[in-house]
Symmetry: C2
Subunit: 686 residues, 2 copies
């Protein structure tokens, strides 16, 4: 029902007009404002500890250290891929849960990288120096080269990861230096049935009853890593009205886009993706009917597709809400008016929005070729082939001339991915690749020369079947040999998937270049100008759109009004048992049914806060001003999806697992004493 | 690529400002205007002959008589369901084609009704008399009762079908009296591979190479029906520039909707349906991978789903085109201004558009409950159960008090449907029903009381499996017994599907009633007022929106400009062989490959005209002023989909099979001498 709701409240975005709004960078946190509102101003030390206790999972999630020994708390859905990768037909950890009773049983995730933000350096001057005075395309290339140079220079070892991040849409560049952990092991995960209780129907809904958590551990040289900065876990959880902080990595918000860009999103991009994902979902759901093993190997993929669909639908509901969109339009009108009212500022800005509209037209014209040839085509084995082919070509170039994902600072994560031992289901790969090729034909048309070159006289299914069955890229040692053998090994390979990647690559690179030159480059220039104007008009106390960099948000535990009724901010264990029907996705696992008598039904299970979060924040710690962890972010309510474009403090809510519920479940359902002990009686750091 | 196009040309709709625009009723055909433009004014006799040679297939298509012995020409895709229904695992007529070498081999379609429009009577006065002065809801009920009464009074036998149709959105009511044929038999159908050559990728595209035809025959008392009014088939087909008429049954256009109604369509209804259909498509495509038999039994269903998706996407492309929508807005502004400029007319019209906006809000709020509980849920076996349950209840009421689809005049078609011998695949039904129930939960939420009552503690798949496996409604004799046994038999039935229909019916009827009272009734009143104003402002020479009633449109054979290049109006046989790859959907059938040497590659295959058509026109004859059939409508180009909302003469095109191609294929590929002889040397009527 939630998708039907309109979004009637005035919202803003970027200029935080509400206490709760804002995904603040750690080096521009509005302590004064917080002090004025809540009588609490975080100290530098407090901020540093929170930052160092925060963890990014490089594949797209947030997390935190919860013991001095590298123990990491994150969501179950942030570790689903790892849990599935470690499973076998005989040991299905996704369905049954996982629990390492001793350190030696902790299992390394094939493809997880954890990052801890160690240092932030402003590099705006260096970047603007190399781009100033250049035309769009040249400036874009110079910017990328300088970023590659800066990142490489700062990364002193493989354990250090350096990313130059663009903030405020181009007005500001900072170098984020992370401690990198690639040996990350699974410690504990409950059953999917309770982690995702209610499944897709309950996703982005509240009240909720999910134990959406997992424990991982960062290792250093084969030993648990030292993590002196960590959050102590509160056994009692928060109370209604408590001030809450969330430190995490929101993936992306689009509150600064122009109306022309939002219209493209609303009228073309999102609908196109939603049709595709919906079809893929139907395909996967039916694929799972082939049998239990097929269900097992496609489970994490289907869950991610379903989550994407629901998130996109919520975002579309916001964009197609007349009231909501009118407010976004009003925001742009106000901004333009203020810019034009300042003669100095107005100079050179007059045609900016029209120019953006022209770029958007170009973006639309290129969109399908771009996503299907350059960006898309994301089946695991084809992606491996493309990465190997490109890597060999790119490594032959100097660092500054490479495509950005092959610059030195990105290589460790790429190598981890290519050498991952995660099993690949060829049966599922055939379906994914058939689907991808079918969509390619549909998007570009059967007469497109690139489509003809790729398909020849074969159907998508024929090609997918012969490629997937013929390739050996599912074997890590084959990938390793090709990776280490470089261009020579690649050129000699007769692997059909490598052959296909080679065949597609010229067209893929061409459309990517075209997109960079005609869309990305001018948007960057326009973005910089808009950012400068925004600072000039609204002052320095604004926050940048989310970019999967660490942010701190402030809120409180608080319900909201839904259709005239107040939604209470907490749910309790008893509610989960009431909601249990016995049928998936409303079936509690046996462990919970067995433990029912031992559990206190009044224990808080999930709760909501007014913190401003978005996708990528999953796994973020919720903590109080004493830096005690009281909850674990795992979702937003349906209204929070409009937060992509603008924040509405009346109804936007973050959804978290209560730390009281976590403790009770660990102790009474799972008897996970080792973890509980570590959380409460942390042994001395090694 | 077509979906990317914008719709830049000024369009109108309903007020025919272009020569080609207009789906004219036979009793208001603009002969004068045609004469002025083309020097040809159809006589009354000409119009009568064209009307009587036109055929409606009541399940949703158009067709025509092409011999005096009841021979009917329509599309393959209008007979796909019949062809599949008549097939078995051993005899797959869809894949292999069907050809009755003698009359005795013609096979009766389980569920096809053909209608010939015999008479039109204006009943506006009778209807407005019973509704005038009444409030919306009362007026709606009185209107329905009067319609039921008029239809029953006019239908003198089971062979006569009478429908009161609403024209001009409510301004006008006419009684359409049809000769009804329920014994309709399959005579000839080519292989699906050539009927739908190019499949979904080529659907709504041009150039095309489709033999999208089938021949049926109407029977009367077990003998071929006499059809003295028929179209003679031209062996040479049309030439570029030729004047063309199309007589058929466009299903529905929405050129008169207010902007508020169009916004609901664009922002909510269409996207929702497209997500659903896309998911269903993915589901069916993967279902077909279970095996050849599963592919066979789901083929016609999948084709209809794919066609719907592509049509909807084209319509959305029009509605989300900024230029196109601006023109629709300008049209409304112009209309409102003219209404307001006329003081007499303006009285009582001022708040009309705002009132419509309020109704639209209500419509949106009710939409999901309405389509999932009242209208939706269309799996064959559940639909049978619901019809049987309702019919028993409705027949107990007087004709005028029944739900409209159970009034006397509708019963013959309903009985045909319920007693159909078309086979039902229970395996496919389980999937359809699982999908429908899953969408119901998703749309209304797992906590909705009706959802809870329907699902209980079971999952959608569990219910679907037990219902479908447990029901006997797939057996025609069981349906017959329940149909003839009436309420008593129904009440005693322990069939689980009947039980489910009983369980859902109170909620389904309630939301339908709510929808009738709060949406349908006020829209009818507002529609009547708008229609009256439209007549007053624009005069009598306007055409009503399409309503699946017989219409005549005028056009000519003419290409169009696409991305700066002229698209030639004809394709030839040679092009089909060039396009042949050997892989589905670009694989010509063996019969064509074998006949290649005998065929003249220059023979015209398909062509385009400027006729104004829409879905439902499929199977319509294209004929010249001598009433010779020169083509067979089977599609529109991608731009024609915007025709749902406004006609653009520059790019809107109807797509037809050329009669020259039809003749050559029948003779040289199929050796279908019996049909060719009947088309050219019609034997004396029996």
């Amino acid at each position: 029902m939630a998708l039907l709701r309109s979004f009637p409240i005035v919202l803003w975005g970027l200029v935080a007009v509400h206490a709760e709004e804002g995904m603040w960078t750690y080096n521009n946190f509005p302590s004064q404002k917080l002090n004025a509102l809540h009588g609490f101003a975080p100290s530098e030390q407090w901020l540093e500890k929170a930052r160092l206790a925060s963890v990014r999972l490089a594949q797209g999630c947030s997390a935190s250290f919860v013991s001095p020994n590298g123990l990491i708390l994150t969501n179950h859905h942030c570790a689903t891929a790892c849990i599935q990768d470690l499973s076998t037909p005989e040991k299905d950890y996704l369905a049954k849960g996982f629990w390492a009773r001793q350190e030696g049983e902790e299992l390394r995730c094939p493809n997880v990288e954890a990052n801890q933000l160690a240092e932030i350096t402003d590099v705006t001057a260096a970047i603007t120096k190399v781009t100033s005075g250049k035309k769009d395309q040249e400036a874009n290339e110079a910017r990328k080269a300088e970023i590659a140079r800066l990142e490489k220079a700062a990364a002193t070892s493989e354990n250090v990861r350096c990313d130059v991040v663009t903030l405020y849409g181009g007005g500001h560049y900072e170098l984020y230096k992370y401690r990198r952990y690639q040996d990350v092991r699974l410690v504990f995960a409950p059953e999917l049935g309770i982690a995702l209780f209610g499944g897709d129907p309950d996703n982005f809904m509240f009240p909720r009853y999910n134990l959406d958590l997992s424990f991982l551990r960062a290792y250093d040289n084969g030993r648990p890593a030292a993590s002196p900065n960590f959050f102590a876990v509160s056994k009692s959880g928060p109370k209604e009205g408590d001030l809450t902080f969330v430190s995490g990595h929101p993936g992306g918000t689009y509150r600064q886009l122009t109306i022309a860009q939002l219209e493209l999103e609303r009228d073309f991009v999102k609908p196109h993706l939603l049709y595709s994902f919906s079809e893929l979902r139907g395909n996967l759901v039916q694929f799972q009917q082939r049998g239990a093993e097929q269900k097992r190997v496609s489970q994490s993929y289907l869950l991610s597709v379903e989550n994407t669909i629901k998130a996109f639908k919520g975002e579309q509901a916001a964009l197609t809400s007349k009231d909501f969109f009118k407010q976004l339009q009003a925001k742009e009108v106000d901004f333009r008016k203020r810019v034009m009212a300042d003669r100095k500022l107005a100079f050179g800005m007059g045609g900016l929005w029209d120019e953006m509209e022209a770029v958007v037209k170009r973006e639309r014209a290129l969109f399908l070729r771009y996503i299907y040839l350059a960006a898309g085509f994301r089946t695991s084995l084809f992606a491996h082939a493309r990465q190997l082919v490109r890597l060999a070509d790119e490594l032959a170039k100097p660092n500054e001339k490479r495509l950005e994902e092959y610059t030195e600072s990105r290589l460790p994560q790429l190598r981890q991915y290519l050498l991952s031992t995660a099993p690949v289901s060829k049966e599922l790969e055939i379906e994914k690749m058939t689907f991808a090729l079918t969509k390619l034909v549909e998007a570009l048309g059967p007469d497109d020369p690139d489509v003809r070159r790729i398909l020849g006289k074969q159907s998508p299914r024929e090609i997918a079947t012969s490629m997937v069955n013929g390739t050996q890229l599912d074997q890590p040692q084959v990938c390793k040999r090709l990776l280490e053998g470089g261009k020579a090994a690649l050129d000699q390979s007769t692997d059909p998937m490598i052959g296909l990647a080679r065949k597609i690559d010229p067209a893929a690179r061409a459309v990517r270049k075209q997109h960079e030159d005609e869309v990305e480059s001018p948007i960057k220039r326009l973005g910089e100008k808009l950012a400068q104007a925004r600072f000039a008009v609204y002052g320095a106390s604004i926050y940048p759109d989310a970019t999967f960099t660490l942010r701190l948000s402030v809120g409180q535990v608080k319900g909201w009004m839904e259709s005239g009724r107040m939604v209470h901010p907490f749910t309790i264990f008893g509610g989960a048992f009431e909601r249990h029907t016995g049928s998936d996705p409303f079936a509690l696992p046996g462990s919970w049914l067995d433990a029912k008598e031992k559990l206190n039904p009044q224990t808080h299970f999930n709760f909501v806060t007014t913190n401003d979060i978005i996708g990528g924040n999953s796994g973020s710690p919720v903590f109080n001003k004493d830096l005690q962890l009281v909850g674990l972010i795992f979702d937003g309510n349906i209204h929070s999806l409009g937060g992509n474009y603008g924040f509405d403090p009346e109804v936007n809510r973050a959804v978290a697992v209560d730390s009281a519920g976590i403790m009770e479940a660990l102790e009474k359902v799972y008897g996970a004493g080792r973890v509980v002990n570590e959380l409460f009686r942390p042994p001395p750091a090694p």
